[in-house]
């Protein structure tokens, strides 16, 4: 099976497996809150993991703090609800600005706030999947309390202008809480948390399993400027763990794997970004050659070419969103599964049903065309041999589905 669904989750990196085995075999079983030597040892390991994950973001403790969570979704919830300062502040209501293409981990907490009387403005992206920074800034009002904009979209791979939007808002003399879901950007872009924090972003949220750590560990990273200005409150109350922001005994084993993976990703980041970009573009070339009417969606490749500096990347390194006219995405995912390629239509709910997501709708596709979209996302281990094989399988499978569709038309006539 050729795995091209890394935006859903990554295969465990060997560094994670090694860290997990070591942690499970000895040392790290103790509670980091315990006073004894084993507890101290666990706490030291946890601190080291925290340092490694911050280092991946180009940051250090002091200027940024990191709260380990159960994953990206919890981190997003903490980032949104925690920064609003608890129930009392939430009850006061206010205005929120976000994009229409956020992940449910952001959209659902916002929907709950709407039910409680908050007003939310959803800014649409352009047809390349990118939200204009100016549109975010324009949507802000005097009573805007919170702005949340994802760093990169999970389906289109479009990188969003988070720092730029934060700077524009600051230039307007406004100071809403600005946070970002960076789940799809960490490890797939040159995400610079220092630049984000300098621009006025207060926190980012992300998960470990998109990088090759196991699911069950994520992080909220916030600027230390933030706790001077705002009261970040826990949403899970319990013991005083994680700077009193997340009660509950720490997932030390998960954090160690996250730390080990973060270290490996950091050391290999430039090479991996270049490698996956190249493979992704090679995959697209193979498709174009064999399926001439295939349409590449999301940020234009030209926008990529001028962004070699890394600072203005238009899309993440690994994502290829494609439309094959006349070939339904859910059919193609199923047929590719049987033919040995794992891909996705972009959003699968737990029931397995595949809906057309707001991110795909926002690309301007109407009706049937919106259902003809499929996402290929390359993982850290994807090889050029696999890409070549996948290209051939995809072309053959699209042909297979199209001839089945043509047969159907003949039968109906």
């Amino acid at each position: 099976m050729i795995y091209l669904d890394a935006n859903a989750t990554s295969r465990l990196r060997p560094e994670a497996v090694k860290a997990l085995s070591a942690a499970l075999a000895d040392g790290a079983f103790a509670n980091p809150s315990s006073v004894h030597r084993l507890g101290r040892s666990a706490r030291a390991l946890l601190r080291e993991a925290r340092r490694e994950v911050l280092a991946l973001l180009g940051s250090t403790q002091g200027e940024a703090e990191l709260v380990f969570t159960s994953g990206g979704t919890e981190a997003c919830n903490l980032m949104l609800l925690g920064f609003l300062g608890g129930a009392k502040a939430i009850a006061q209501g206010g205005h929120i600005v976000t994009s229409a293409i956020e992940h449910p981990a952001v959209l659902e907490p916002l929907a709950e706030l709407e039910r409680q009387g908050w007003e939310v403005s959803y800014v649409l992206p352009a047809s390349d999947g990118r939200v204009a920074a100016a549109a975010i800034a324009e949507a802000c009002r005097k009573d805007t309390v919170l702005v949340v904009l994802m760093a990169a979209n999970n389906e289109t791979g479009a990188v969003q202008p988070v720092a730029e939007a934060a700077r524009l808002i600051a230039a307007q003399g406004m100071a809403p809480i600005f946070v970002s879901d960076a789940t799809q950007a960490v490890g797939k872009t040159h995400l610079d948390v220092r630049e984000l924090f300098d621009a006025g972003v207060l926190a980012i949220a992300f998960s470990g399993h998109k990088l090759g750590a196991p699911a069950g560990i994520g992080a909220l990273v916030y600027s230390t400027k933030a706790d001077r200005c705002y009261s970040l409150a826990p949403i899970i109350r319990g013991g005083p763990q994680e700077q009193r922001l997340r009660g509950g005994t720490e997932n030390v084993v998960g954090a160690l794997a996250f730390g080990a993976v973060a270290s490996a990703v950091r050391q290999d980041l430039d090479a991996d970004l270049a490698r996956r970009r190249k493979l992704r573009d090679a995959l697209w070339l193979l498709m174009q050659e064999r399926i001439p009417d295939a349409v590449r969606l999301g940020p234009a490749p030209e926008a990529e070419a001028v962004s070699e500096s890394g600072a203005t990347e238009a899309s993440v390194s690994n994502t290829l969103l494609v439309r094959f006219p006349g070939c339904r995405g859910d059919d193609l995912v199923a047929a590719l599964d049987l033919n040995g390629v794992a891909a996705s239509t972009g959003s699968a709910c737990s029931s397995g049903r595949q809906d057309v997501s707001p991110s795909v709708r926002a690309l301007g596709l109407q009706g049937q065309a919106a259902r003809e979209v499929i996402r290929f996302s390359l993982d850290w281990h994807t090889s050029s041999t696999e890409v070549e094989a996948a290209g051939a399988i995809i072309a053959r499978t699209v042909g297979q589905l199209r001839s089945a569709g043509a047969q159907e038309l003949t039968d109906a006539a």
Binding site: D331, R353, Q400
Partner: protein, 391 residues
């Protein structure tokens, strides 16, 4: 390697062992058992669930047992995962809306009493299933319908495939399958057709699947309250034109008011809100005049009726009048009739015993007038009962 004959042979074409079979899995007892039986028989099963109507999106209750809601798929998924065969959920809502819901609402507004399960089976389930199967390079499809396929002699003497009622006559679903063609029957399997429902449940229970004890699904899966309420909500302003109107006698005498013609069915007796010395029945529903005509039981009964859009499963329409047993709705016991061909697609059906009422919009399905040796009956064909035009 020589292809082996499959276990579901009996003179009927069967897939070879290992061949792909796409099984429609609603999540109910019967389709779960069908998939598992084919898997155990050695076929390469691909489970497919068709998401046709999501109650959460249409304001209905989520708790009702329905045939195709996401929660029902859990059991299908469990079977697939424990047996390790591929399983996919496809969204058929658009096709379901266009082929089932909209025609259902339109029919009620036209004064008919449609059976949406017929359209669903024919235009959604089988058509979409075949399309998906072709895309997955599978020639064969299977469902959990209670029906059987067997070779028979066609009127012209050739051997064709016949559709037969199920072994379990209380569960028989052949009524819904009258529109199948020879082409369909050549590549469709009904694995539970030869079993009784208790046997099917036991088969699953023996293997430890909790779906064995699941309840029966409803006939109209997408209507959570009353049909009238559903039609009014879906039709919106179109329902207003067919709202409150007159209830009249056959002579045109106004007897009372109705609250929308789509609330009524020909043959209905209860809930007319008209007082009379003798029981009154709905005789006719006129969408143009927006009236409901009522009368006595005798006036309701007819000597004959017309059936349109007729399909003959053998692929050959009879040239001469044919005696059949006709079922005029699902679970109808059936009555002896003579089918008189008018055109290739249109027939007149005459009652041979007592006269009876018919509901325009329902299917009339024609069964052979003699039983097979094992008490199963051949389904010859069927069509849709048309509105009365000769009165």
């Amino acid at each position: 390697m020589q292809p082996e004959a499959g276990p579901f042979s009996d003179g009927v074409p069967t897939p070879t062992i290992g061949e792909r079979v796409v099984v429609a899995m609603s999540g109910g007892v019967d389709s779960c058992a069908a998939a598992l039986m084919l898997h155990e028989a050695g076929y390469s099963v691909i489970g497919v669930s068709m998401q046709v109507w999501d109650y959460r999106q249409h304001g209905g209750s989520e708790s009702r047992a329905t045939c195709c809601a996401p929660a029902d798929f859990d059991d299908a998924r469990e079977i697939a995962e424990r047996s390790d065969f591929p399983y996919f959920v496809f969204d058929f809502e658009e096709s379901f809306r266009a082929s089932v819901i909209d025609p259902f609402v339109d029919s009620y507004l036209r004064g008919l009493t449609p059976n949406p399960c017929l359209d669903c089976n024919r235009k959604v389930k089988f058509r979409e299933l075949r399309r998906r199967a072709a895309g997955l390079e599978a020639r064969w499809v299977a469902t959990g319908h209670y029906a059987q396929v067997r070779p028979v002699s066609a009127p012209d003497g050739s051997t064709v495939l016949g559709l037969f009622t199920a072994v379990d006559d209380r569960k028989d679903q052949s009524y819904f399958l009258y529109a199948m063609t020879q082409h369909d029957l050549q590549t469709t399997l009904f694995p539970v057709g030869g079993m009784t429902k208790p046997e099917v449940r036991q088969y699953l229970a023996e293997r430890g699947f909790k779906v064995a004890h699941k309840g029966e699904s409803q006939d109209i899966c997408f209507v959570s309250s009353s049909v009238g309420e559903f039609v009014r909500r879906r039709a919106g302003h179109r329902a207003e034109a067919h709202g409150r109107g007159k209830i009249v006698s056959r002579e045109g005498v106004e007897l009372g008011h109705h609250e929308g013609i789509y609330q009524y069915t020909v043959g209905q007796r209860r809930g007319l809100g008209v007082s009379s010395s003798h029981p009154l029945y709905v005789l006719q529903i006129d969408p143009e005049e927006n009236t409901v005509t009522v009368g006595s039981k005798e006036e309701l009964q007819r000597a004959s009726f017309m059936v349109d859009d007729v399909n003959w499963i053998a692929g050959i329409a009879p040239q001469a009048p044919l005696e059949v047993v006709a079922k005029l709705r699902y679970r109808h016991a059936g009555v002896r009739c003579r089918v008189v061909p008018i055109t290739a697609k249109l027939v007149r059906v005459e009652f041979l015993d007592e006269w009876s009422a018919v509901s325009p919009g329902q299917a009339a399905v024609f069964y052979a007038s003699s039983q097979d040796t094992d008490a199963t009956v051949q389904v010859l064909g069927g069509g849709i009962i048309t509105r009365d035009r000769h009165e």
